[in-house]
Amino acid sequence: MTSAAVPGSRAPGPSVAPVHVEAELLATRRLGAYRLLTFAAAGVAERFRPGAVVALSLGPERLARRSFWVHRVRPVGGHGASVDVVLAPGAPGSGSAWLAAQPVGTRLPLTGPLGRPFALPREPVDCLLVGVEASAAVLFPLAERLRERGCGVHLLLGARDEAHLLSALEARRTARSVTVVTADGSVGRRGDVGGALPERVARLDPDVLYAAGPLPTLHAVAAAAEAHGAWSQTAVEVPSPCATGLCHGCPLPVVGEDGAPREVRACTEGPVVRGDRVRWADLTGDPWAGPAADPAPVRAAGPAGERP
C-alpha cells in the first residue's frame, strides 16, 4: 500500500525516523478498567503524529515487543515531553499485566514513533471518529489535531460498560458532539458502535471517518464510509512482534493502488490504512486464535498482540 491518504489531505508518508531510547515510567494511574502509563521518552513526543505507536521491550525473558497507540503527549518539567499509553491489563501472564505492575521509575527500552499516522484533511471538513474501548486512545490526539485545523470533530465511543469506556468526559472538551454506547447500557445508549453508526453517519454527513477498535468495527466503519461516499482511515491492530519492520511478522492484506491484492507490514505500511484498501475478509477473526493448546489470546491496547 503506497497511500493511505484522503484526497486533498496531507499524505502521512512513512513516519519520521523513530528513536530508540530508555524510557522512564513517570506516572501510572488507574483509568477505569485500564491503566494510564506516562513515560519520559526523549525525542519521541517531539516526533509524534496522531496514529503513530510506540513499542516497548519488556525485559530479557519476553522477546516480542509490545506496541501501544500514543494516547497523549505533553510537556513535563525536566523531561521534555512525555508520552501516555493506555494499558488493558488483566489477562493472566500477559505482558500487559507485568507492565501494569511496574513501579514509577522503571526504565524500559522504547522505540517510537513507529508506523504511518492518520492522514489529515487539508480543508476544515467534518470528521466522525469511531473508537472502541482502549483502542479509542489513539483518537484523542487526532481529535485535537483536527480541531486545530478547524474540522468539525464528532466522536462515537463504545465499550462493554462504563469502566471500559475511555475518557468520554475529556472527549467532550475537544469534540463538537460525543455519542456513547455501552453493551450493558451503564452509560450512554445501550448497544454497540456498529449499531449506532448508520444513524450518526446519516445525521452528521461526515467527509472523513476515522476508526480504532476491533476488526469488525473497523470493517463496519470502512463500509459505512464507502456507502456514504466518504473516506475512511482505519487504525488496524495486527500483532506486531518487532514493530520496526524487521521481521515481516505482521501481515496486513490490502489491495494495492493497481487493484492487485498484496500484503504489507502493519507496523511500517500501517497501522493506519485507508479502509477501502484493506481486504477485511482476509483479516477477520483473532489472529492469535488457535486450537485449544494455544493459550487464550491477549490483546494489548495497541496494534501488537501479546503472548501470555
Binding site: H20, P241, C242, T244, G245, L246, C247, P251, R262, P291
Partner: protein, 282 residues
Amino acid sequence: MSAGEVRLGALRLPGPVVVAAGCGGTGRELAGFVDLSRLGAFTTRSVTRDPRPGPPGPRLVEAPSGLLHATGLANPGLQHFLAVELPWLVAAGARVVVSVSGADLGEYAELGRRLAHAPGVAAVEVAATSPEEPPGLLSAREPFHAASVVGAVRRDLPVDLPVVAKLRADVPRVAEAARAVVDAGAAAVVVGGALPAALPDGRPAGLGGPAALPVTRRCLAELRERVDLGGVAVLAGAGATTAADVRGLLAAGADAVQVGTALLHDPTAAARLVDDLEETPA
C-alpha cells in the same frame, strides 16, 4: 588483513557482526538504527524466484527465551528485489549477502544465474534448510541435498563470489553436512541457525534467540572436533545477544556471528554489538 576483519572466501568483511536472514527487514528499516556499512554484512530475507505471500498470522510467537517464527519466507520475488531492495542496500554501503530459497534445483540454479550479474552482491547464502520448511520450497534435510543445492547455485556464479551454506541445526550431522557443502563449493557455512520447532497450533516454525545459543556452541564444537574444513569460514547462527556472546562464539571457532532475534527485541542491537566489540577487542 586488519584486526577484526573476516574473510568469506574472496570476500573481506570489516567485522564479525552479520545481520541474519529475515531479521533486518528490507534494510531500510534497520538503517534507522545502525549504519549498515559498519556491519560485517547484511543478509537479506530469503528471496525466491517468484513473489511469496506468506501465511496469515500469527507468524512470530514468544517461547521461553526465544521467538518462534513462521513467516513462510514471504518475499516480493527476485525481480522486485533486484530492482528495488538490492540497489538501496548497496547505496547504503552494506555488504549484501543475498539469501536464496527455491522449490527445486532448477530454481536454485536460476537464482544463481540471475544473481551472477547483479551489481553489488557480495555473497549468496543458500537457505535450503529453513527450519520452517515452508510449503512449496525444497527442504534439504540430508547433507547431500544441501550439497546439491550449493552446487546448483555455485555453477554460474563468478568464482570470486562466495556461496554461504546455511546448515540445518542438526547437531549429530552438522560436521557431515559442512563437509558435503564445502566439497560442493561453499566458501562459508552457517551453523546453529534457528532450531526446528512448532507454533502452539502445530505449524512448523524456527526457534531463535537465547534458547538456541547453547546449540550453536555445540555445533561449533562438533565442527572443531570432527571435521577439517581447511580455510572455510564458519558463521555462528542463532542466539547471540551480547558482546560476550559474540566473543564466546568467536573463541569457540566462529569467524563471524549472525544476529537475528536480538534485533527484533532491540533494533539497536547490531549497533551496540559493533560498538562493544570495537571498544574492547577480543
